[in-house]
Every structure is written in structure tokens, then in C-alpha cells.
Amino acid sequence: MSHHDQYRKLKSTFMSVLAVFCALLVVLPLILVFFYLLKMGFSSLNLNFFTKVPTAAGENGGGMANAIVGTLELMGLALIMGVPLGLLGGIFLSEHGSERTNGWIRFGADVLNGVPSIVWGMACYTLVVVPMGGYSAFAGGLALSFIMVPLVLRTTEEVLVLVPHAYREAGLALGIPHWKITVNIVLRTAFKGIVTGVLLGLGRVAGETAPILFTALGSTSWNHSLKEPIAALPIQIYYYAISPFEDQNRQAWAGALVLIVIVFLLSTSVRMISNRRKRA
């Protein structure tokens, strides 16, 4: 082997090592955070945590049952309000709109995607909380749905555009009306991608704190109406983490762990959906 070849090989090895090192550096915080959470949170997890509502400040015991259910409820509300709008918007972009209007809509959606989530909280506070005369689960769900709409819209468009044009042509050549092709062929072909987009959107809003702080407010008891404030894990974690009581600090760790597990389950199901082979 010539000198030059050796030098080249050395350079190649060095770059590979550097790349692996950088990759590890990226994953490291995730691993550290996750293990620290496990260590701190797991010891505070018990049956009460999942079944009881918070006790009065300073008293030990109690749990976050209402906040866990509240977070799921807010995610459900965001799903119901945000997905239809985002989905139909994505269908419009991919199947109907002209280049010109699409450009503007895409631009709008991308700007909305970049809006800090606290701005959504303030917008919903002004638009919903003030006119309705109080904080509510509805307002919280709406704020989260605002965050989901542009996300779902863009991912829907992206996966619909990936459906080969040949399928639409084949459908049209059979004399099938355009909308039936969209629903029965295009959406069905892109179904996995759309579900993936929706789940990613849900994972994103599950941990949002700022928009619901202004709208859902948080609560220490069970929620019975969409017009009442509702508890949510991120809010509960926020209050307990800054609380002076040690038991509440411990529960904040446990809440963070549960929240991470919810998001983790969502992204795992995303992976499972996208890895699943075409049905046989």
C-alpha cells in the first residue's frame, strides 16, 4: 500500500469515528434525561398516583389521576377539532388547489407551524376564555388543535403528493368521479402516512404547557364539563416542580415520567405503523 493510500484510509477512519461520536452526542441527552427521569420518577409511582387526585398542599399522598385523564381528554379534543381541518386542507393542497393559491396556503401553514405555542395560548385566551367568561377544557383543546392543524395539513399534503399520479389517472380513466378516487384510492393508499402525521402531531401537543396554561388553567379535582378548567400533566408538573413540598416535587418527577411514556408510546406506534408491511 502506498503512502498516499494509507493517508486516505486514515482520513476516512477519522471521519467515521467523528461521525459516530457526533451521533452519540445527539442521543446522549435523551438517554441521560430518560434514565434520570426513571430514577427520580419511578420510586414515586404507586397505585395512588394513578387513582387519586391531588391532596391539599403540604399533605402527603394523592396522585395525578385527574391530570393523566385530563391530558388524554385535551389530546382527544385537539384530535377532534384539529384533524378534520388539517386533513381536508391537506387534501385541498394535494388534489385541488392551483399552484398560486397553494403557495400562499403552504406559506401560511409554515408560518403557523413556527408560531410559539404561548401565542396560541394568548390567542385562545382572547378569543375563547374571555368571551366565555372562564378557563375551560374546550379552550385548552382548541389551543392545542390550533397547533395541530398546520402540522396535520402539511404532513397530509406531503404523503398525498407521494401517491403516484398513475393511480389517479387509472381511476379517472374508469369513469370514477374525482372525489371518490380521492377518498377510496388516494387516501387509502396514503392512510399509513396520514395516521403517522396525526400521531406525531398528538405527540407534539401532549407535552405543550404554555397554550393550556392560559386556557385550560389546570385543576386539582376531576373535570366534569368542557366549560370547566381541566387538569393536565404538564401544568401539574409545572406547579409541583416549583412547589416547596418535597412530596409534590417527587410527584412532579413521576408525572414527567408518565408524560414521557405517553409520548414514547405515540412515537412507537408511529414506527410500528410505518414499518408494518403492506397487508397480505
Binding site: 398513475a166 389517472e169 387509472a170 380513466a173 374508469l174 369513469g175 370514477i176 371518490k180
Partner: protein
């Protein structure tokens, strides 16, 4: 409403072929004399934005026979074919002048719905495109189902008929529920033909249906085209001149958007009148 859809699907072309008259001009010189006209193309020009893809074409395509459209790449033959079921309209910026009459009716008339035209004029594409989420049987029946046909017995019958017509039945009858995309390339193309035939169009357009197939699969599709012409008008675009010679009664040669020559296939290949046609079929250009 299944009855309506059925009647749409059942309106098979009742073509009263006139009895050949003894002593009439030899068919070699008069392509359209023997039968009814399926498409009467009058002064058709098609533009994509500012480019003109088809230039003032006059052409009468006879019914109940196979007409081949040949010509070098980019000569407008696919555009001409797609104009026959209004598929070219899907290209943004496409517009046309002139007329196409299908059995006397203006295809582009103000009250004519492109969807209805496409139900009557089926199409098979260059690349087979079975729907990946549908099974073999769902692929065949999708045109009927999505147009409202629900009658199970009718659908089952249509499924078998269509797959038999496309010579695929024996190969797939035990695996009708497998995905359409699990078939081989040649089988997929015949599946697409069965899918197009299942709605019982009056006319079948084929856009280079064999260009992605191996010789054996090609031979099967060609056999199929032979069998279809007793019941259907077939218009086929092909790059392969041997194929045009094998399957068609009449051939149209397009060059740079213009129809150069149209006549009985034998005449186009053996005794073309136009020097450009002669140069193309003898392989001197294109």
C-alpha cells in the same frame, strides 16, 4: 343505483356491420369503408400552454377493429390517444380546437361530462398501475363498485368474465384476495386490462401497453387484443412497429404533431404513399 350503472356498463356497442359489397373498392385503399366509425376526428389541434402537440388532425377511426398509432417519441401519438377519452385535459394548460365525434356525438360538447366519456372509453396505460391497497378482485371491480354497483351475484359474474377476457382467470382464480401488486408485471398489465373491461367500455384505448413487458407477456397481451376486436374498438399506441403490424387492421403514422398517413396496416408497412412514412417504417429515422 345499480340498475343505472348496469345499463351504463351493459351498453355494449351494437354494431351492425354492413355486409361487404361485392365489387366495392378494395379495402386496402379505403380504411373506413367497411364499418361504422368509432371516432370522427375533425381538424383537431391540441396545445399545452404555447406548444402545439397535435396539428389539425383529421382522422376516422373505424369501429370493431384495431387501429394502431405509430410514430417517433414526442410526435403527439399519446396526446392524440388521450384526447379520445379526455384524459389530456388533466394536464394543466391543455386546450384544444376542432372536434371529436364518437358515434356522432361531440365528445367535448357543452353538456358532456368527462367522467361519463371515460366510462364509455376505457384506457390501459404504459406502466401497469393496479391499486396497491386493493386485492385482485377489488381491482377488477373497483370501476363498478365506485359507480354504485352493489349486486353481489352480478359483480362475481363480471369479475370472472373480465378476468377470462383478459386471459388471467386461470392464473389467479385461487388467489383473488391477494393484493393486485403481488402479480408479475405481465399479469399486472392483464389485470389492468380486466379492470378496464369490467365496466364494459365501448372502446378501449391502449397507450404502449407492452413496452414494459417481456416477449412472452407481450405475446399474451397481443393475443388478447386479437380476441377483443370482435367485441371492441381498440386504439393502440405503440413504439413497436412489428407489434402494430401484428395486431392492427389500420395504422396512423404521426410525425411532429401531424397525421402523416392513415390507411390499412398492410399498406402503411408494405406500400406507404408518403416518403416520411416509408422512411420511418423502414427504420431510416425515429
Amino acid at each position: 343505483m345499480s340498475d343505472q350503472a348496469k345499463s351504463v356498463a351493459d351498453s355494449s356497442p351494437s354494431a351492425p356491420t354492413p355486409a361487404p359489397q361485392p365489387g366495392s373498392a378494395s379495402p386496402a385503399s379505403m380504411p373506413s369503408a367497411k364499418a361504422e366509425v368509432a371516432f370522427d376526428i375533425q381538424d383537431l389541434s391540441i396545445f399545452y400552454g404555447k406548444t402545439q402537440a397535435i396539428k389539425n388532425v383529421h382522422l376516422q377511426i373505424p369501429a370493431m377493429s384495431v387501429t394502431a398509432i405509430i410514430g417517433p417519441s414526442g410526435c403527439g401519438k399519446s396526446t392524440a390517444l388521450r384526447a379520445l377519452n379526455r384524459m389530456h385535459e388533466l394536464t394543466p394548460g391543455a386546450r384544444h380546437t376542432g372536434k371529436i365525434l364518437m358515434k356522432g356525438e361531440d365528445l367535448y360538447g357543452p353538456h358532456v361530462d368527462a367522467t361519463v366519456v371515460r366510462r364509455r372509453v376505457g384506457m390501459v396505460f404504459q406502466k401497469s398501475n393496479p391499486f396497491p391497497t386493493l386485492s385482485i378482485s377489488e381491482n377488477v371491480l373497483v370501476g363498478l363498485r365506485l359507480n354504485g354497483v352493489r349486486d353481489k351475484a352480478f359483480l362475481n359474474q363480471r369479475l370472472e368474465e373480465s378476468l377470462r377476457m383478459s386471459a388471467l382467470w386461470d392464473e389467479v382464480k385461487d388467489s383473488l384476495n391477494r393484493p393486485g401488486t403481488s402479480l408479475s408485471g405481465g399479469q399486472q398489465q392483464r389485470l389492468c386490462i380486466a379492470r378496464a373491461l369490467a365496466v364494459r367500455p365501448e372502446i378501449l384505448l391502449m397507450d404502449e401497453p407492452c413496452s414494459a413487458l417481456d416477449p412472452i407477456a407481450t405475446a399474451k397481451v397481443e393475443e388478447l387484443i386479437h380476441a377483443l376486436k370482435s367485441q371492441y374498438t381498440v386504439v393502440i399506441v405503440t413504439h413497436n412497429m412489428q407489434q402494430a403490424a401484428r395486431v392492427s387492421e389500420n395504422t396512423a403514422f404521426f410525425y411532429m404533431g401531424s397525421l402523416i398517413e392513415f390507411g390499412p396496416t398492410e399498406q402503411i408497412f408494405m406500400n406507404p404513399k408518403n416518403p416520411q412514412t416509408e422512411a420511418y417504417v423502414s427504420g431510416r429515422f425515429g
